[in-house]
Structures are given as C-alpha cells and as structure tokens.
C-alpha cells in the first residue's frame, strides 16, 4: 500500500529540509519554519494549501505576494475564459438533456417572462448598497453610467430603483439586446420580484443555447479592482461594514463558503452527490459564531493571538481605485503589490514586532487560499444567479419554488466542481511554477555538491591506498 497523502506531503518537506542542510554548510537558515505546517496537520486534499506552505518554506512569503499579483494581473482573463466555457458547456448539457433546447414561450419576449424573488437573486444583499454611495465601488464598476453601465450588477441595481419599467441588457457591452429585466416591487405581503425574459432579438431562429451563450459572454465576471475588493472581503469581512446584513444572511454566506471549501477539498474525479452538502451540528455552531463576527465586519487572522481585527473599508477602497486606474500590466503589477503591502501593514498594525512576521505570512497565505472561494463567490452574484435560475426553472418541470442559494449550489454542483477544479488548476500552476523553479535551483546546487563529494571521495580512497596518512588526506582534499 502506498503512502498516505499526509505522509507524501511530509516526505516532500523532508526532501526540502535535507536539501537545505546539504546546500547550507553554516546551518544559518535551517531552523526557519520549524513550526508544523498547516497542510501537514490536516488530511486536506487541496493542493493549494500544500503549495502555499511549500512555496513559503522554499522562497518565503514575498513570493506569495508575487503569485497573487501575477494571478490578478495576468491570469484573470484566462480564468474568466475557462469559467465562461464551463458555464456554457454545463448549461448546454443541462437544457439539452431534459428539455427542448428551443427558447421556452414564457422566456420569449412575447411571453410572461420568469419571475424570481429578489432575495433569492441577491442572497448576499449587495443591492442594499448603492453604487453611488461612498463604498459602492467595492462591489460595482462603471458606476456613473448607471443603466448604461457595462457592469450588469450596476445596471440591475438601477433597474430595481425603477419599478415596473422594462430595461434591456446587451447593447451596453457592444452586443445587441439580449435580455429584458423588470423590477416588480412587493404588493401587500408579497416579496420583491425581478422579471427576466429574452429580448426580441431571440424571438425567431434562436435557440436557448444561443441566448445562454450570449448572456454569459456579455457579462464581465472579474473586473480586477472588484476582484481585489472581494478577496479583501473574504479575508477581512470588509463588506459587512458597508452593507447592512443580518446574522441569518451572514450565516447563509458562510454556508456557501463552507460548501465551496468542501468542493475545493475534493479530488478532480471525486463523485459529489447532494449529501455532500450536509452540514454537521458542530460545523453549524462554528458557522454561527463566525456569522456574528461577520455582521460586525470583524475577522481573526492567525498570529494576532485571536485579537479581533477590523479593517476599514477606506483602505480597501483606496487600493481598488489605484488598481482600477493603473495603466499597463507593469504598472498594474506594481500597484497590486503596493496595495497588498498596504493591506498587510494594516493587518500587522495590531501585532508587536515579534508576531508581525507571522501575521504578514498568514495574510499572504490567506490571499492565495481565498482565491478559489472569491472567484466562486463572484460567480454567485446576482448577474449570473439570474441566468442559473432561469435555466433551472426551465429544466424543473415540477415548477417548485426555489428555496435559496444552498439549493442552487446542490443543483449546480457539477458546474461548481468543474469551475473550482479549473480555477484550482490555474492557481496550482502558478504556485507550482514558483516551487519548481526553486526546487530546480536547489537541486542544481545539491547535484554540484554531491558530484564534488564523489570526486573527493575517490581521491581519498586512492590516496589512502597509496599509503598517505589520514590527516594529510583530510588536508589535501580540502583544496
């Protein structure tokens, strides 16, 4: 029977420790990182956690900052392409499998459209934050354009301020009109509803897959500044300071995070069924405790001795503005790196000199670890949830009402797993690239040392065989 994953991970760290001893005769750096790595303490199957530990052991935490900056500046487009491809493929197989791929009469422009509760579409309550408010930029982009914005969430916010009026989406981003939205406010005790239908461009000669694909292509999933903001929210719970949330809502968000974490911790070919999303009582207790901190906008970073930490939204907002206005990749990389440093300094503000290193390391570590969660959370924003809900309503012949985002996650489990695996792959390739460069560099030195030793050993044997005394041999082979 082979080694367990935990043993294999330990063996890799053992190889590194051995290589470091071989390379460094002075022992000066050997004692760094003696603390047992988190990825070795757990039986996690997530390669990102393991690689984060490996890279920080090999190169140090600064490399994690570089990896994060590179992913944000150079890899987001690739991630967006792969995510969009996965969404299109999954929606196509979903609607081709169970129903007629024609656009259903109700979804056509001449039809009634599909209606969904606003609270189901916006489970994290972002529409409680106005794009034009002080911190609107944390979530929305292209704010001033309002209904003409290229950010569908900005457009949707403005649509729900304009009750019972139909607005079209698509031309804002250079496509023809794709979708018509109408906000229908509550009447009496009923909930606020949002109505969605395909635009008149899809009334003839267009299939449902055409509409789905055009919808997906029209949406900008990961604007870089908003992506940065969302990562900081994942680490510091910043959005809760600017969006009024109840503990119950924070609880739902954390349940979603919990499900994403579990999916991240699966192997690529692992089978997932609905029971996978069941949460134990002990997990629920932990989530409730976190939810209480989340609504207060508080987080606890490891290394702060459990001190609650509050990061002001203005810090995140300033960094986002700088990233959004940076031109060219080189300037963007510099700006992101500087922004991370600023946030790290904010994070270490509470610590004394002794634990600042640990806090900074944990902050950079969290940045990478939270990438998959952040990307998945951004997919679960109103602009895409609406599309998912439409498709699942088409497939769901029983027409049962949708009960919430946790149900959506179960329905979307294959899609989410595919997306998470692709994103994991991209993050892993970035970290593995750094690790492999350093390992190759290290191995080059080890090979040099061993090669030199083998030559010296042979000299020693030869000298000893011709009768040269031991002390002289030692002296002679030092040169």
């Amino acid at each position: 029977m082979g080694l367990s994953i935990q043993q294999e991970k330990s063996a890799v760290f053992g190889q590194i420790a051995a290589a470091k001893v071989l390379i460094d005769d002075t022992n000066s750096k050997i004692n760094q990182g003696q603390e047992m790595r988190e990825s070795l303490r757990t039986i996690s199957k997530d390669p990102i956690n393991f690689l984060v530990d490996l890279v920080s052991e090999l190169v140090g935490y600064e490399s994690l900052k570089k990896a994060f900056s590179n992913i944000l500046v150079n890899k987001l487009n690739d991630i967006e392409d792969k995510v969009k491809y996965a969404i299109k493929l999954n929606l196509k197989s979903l609607v081709n499998c169970g129903t007629n791929p024609e656009i259903p009469t109700n979804l056509k422009y001449s039809g009634q459209g599909y209606e969904f509760k606003l609270k189901d579409v916006d489970y994290s309550n972002i529409f409680k934050l106005s794009p034009t408010s002080t911190y609107g930029g944390l979530i929305y982009s292209d704010i001033d354009a309002q209904l003409n914005s290229v950010d569908l969430n900005t457009v949707l916010y403005n649509i729900i301020q304009d009750k019972d009026v139909e607005h079209l989406w698509g031309s804002q981003v250079g496509y023809g009109d794709i979708t018509a939205f109408t906000f229908k406010p509550n009447t009496g005790n009923g909930p606020n509803m949002i109505n969605i239908k395909a635009s008149d461009n899809y009334s003839t000669n267009k299939k449902l897959t055409d509409w789905n694909n055009d919808y997906v292509d029209s949406v900008d999933l990961f604007p870089d500044a908003q992506f940065f903001g969302k990562v900081m929210d994942s680490v510091f719970n910043v959005f809760s300071q600017v969006i009024d949330k109840t503990v119950a809502q924070a609880n739902v968000e954390l349940l979603v995070d919990n499900a994403i974490d579990r999916l991240t911790n699966t192997d690529p070919n692992e089978f997932i069924d609905d029971s996978f999303f069941n949460v134990s009582n002990s997990e629920l207790v932990l989530i409730s405790e976190k939810a209480r901190l989340k609504v207060l906008g508080i987080t606890k970073l490891e290394g702060c001795y459990g001190y609650p930490q509050v990061t002001k939204p203005i810090n995140v907002s300033n960094s986002m503005n700088a990233i959004a206005s940076a031109n060219g990749k080189t300037e963007k990389l510099k700006t992101v790196a500087k922004s991370i440093d600023n946030m790290a300094n904010v994070a270490t503000g509470l610590g004394n000199e002794q634990n600042k290193y640990t806090i900074k390391l944990n902050f950079f570590t969290e940045l990478i670890k939270t990438l998959v969660k952040t990307i998945t959370n951004m997919i679960l924003s109103p602009k895409l949830i609406l599309l998912f809900l439409v498709n699942f309503k088409i497939v769901d012949s029983t027409d049962t009402s949708f009960t919430g985002v946790d149900e959506l996650m179960k329905i979307m489990k294959s899609l989410l797993k595919e997306i998470i695996d692709q994103v994991k792959g991209i993050v892993v390739s970035e970290l593995l690239n750094i690790a492999m460069k350093e390992i190759k560099n290290m191995q080059g030195k080890v090979v040099g040392k061993i090669g030199k030793e083998l030559v010296v050993n042979k000299q020693k044997v030869l000298l000893s065989l011709v009768g040269v005394p031991q002390d002289i041999i030692r002296l002679a082979t030092k040169f």
Binding site: P47, K82, N269, V428, G451, K458, L462, S464, L465
Partner: protein, 140 residues
C-alpha cells in the same frame, strides 16, 4: 512552465498529481563511478591501519562546534552527555562492522585465464571464465 489546457488544469487540481510532479523534481541521477584499479586495491589495502572507534569519536567531537554543539563540560558544570553518547554510538557501530558485517564479492564471467595442464605433455590453455564467481570478506 508551458501553457495548460483544461484537462491539464483538472489534473493539476489533484493533490496526487502535484505531489508526483514535485517528487519527480527531487530525483537525482548520477553516472556510475569508474571502478578502482585492482592492483592498487591489492597493494593499498595492506597499508591500511583498520577502523578505530576512538579515533572516529575524537574526530567527531573535535568537529562538534561546526554544528553549533558545545564541547567539553557544559556551562552549568554538568557532564557533556552528548559526547559520551557519541562515543557509545561510534563504538557500537564499529563493533557491528567488525563482528557482524560481511562483504560479498562477485567476479563476473569473462576474466581472461591462462592455464597449464595435461597428461603426457604440458598443454597451455588460454580463455576466459564462463561463470560468476563469489567470495567473502570482513571489515577490519
């Protein structure tokens, strides 16, 4: 690193693949050493003094400082147990080498042979060995 397609990325999402890639990077390959000249071993081996645990121990203790380990009596005036332990360790290892170690020697086929023999007249034969031959030795 090159570019990855979606199948590559899916594989990279698995911990087993990642560990496999890293473990492969640690594998080192060296060319086999050229054997020592046999006549030199034949002559030189006779000149060696043999193993001494006392000498090895003293060399190790004299180099302890290279690893940052204290030499001699400790600052609190207590005995340096690590040094005593080193002596015991080396003695035991050397004792095992001297009394338990066994060296097996294999001589491959194809060794040139010149032999003389015969009944009425001497016959000189030249050839090569055709079988493996083995021998034993001890460490001293």
């Amino acid at each position: 690193m090159g570019t990855f397609d979606k199948d590559d990325l899916k594989k990279l999402a698995g911990i087993t693949t990642v560990i496999g890639v890293i473990v492969a990077a640690f594998k080192l390959k060296f060319n086999p050493q050229v054997p020592l000249p046999p006549p030199l071993i034949f002559v030189g081996a006779k000149l060696r003094q043999g193993l001494s645990s006392q000498q090895i121990t003293s060399r190790i203790i004299s180099r302890q400082q290279e690893a940052g380990a204290p030499i001699g009596v400790l600052p609190d005036s207590s005995d340096n147990v690590a040094e005593r332990m080193e002596k015991i360790r080396v003695e035991e290892i050397i004792n095992a080498f001297l009394t338990e170690a066994k060296i097996d020697v294999v001589i491959p086929p194809g060794i040139p042979v010149t032999a003389a023999g015969g009944g009425l007249g001497v016959v000189i034969v030249q050839g090569a060995t055709t079988n493996f031959a083995s021998g034993h030795g001890v460490i001293s």
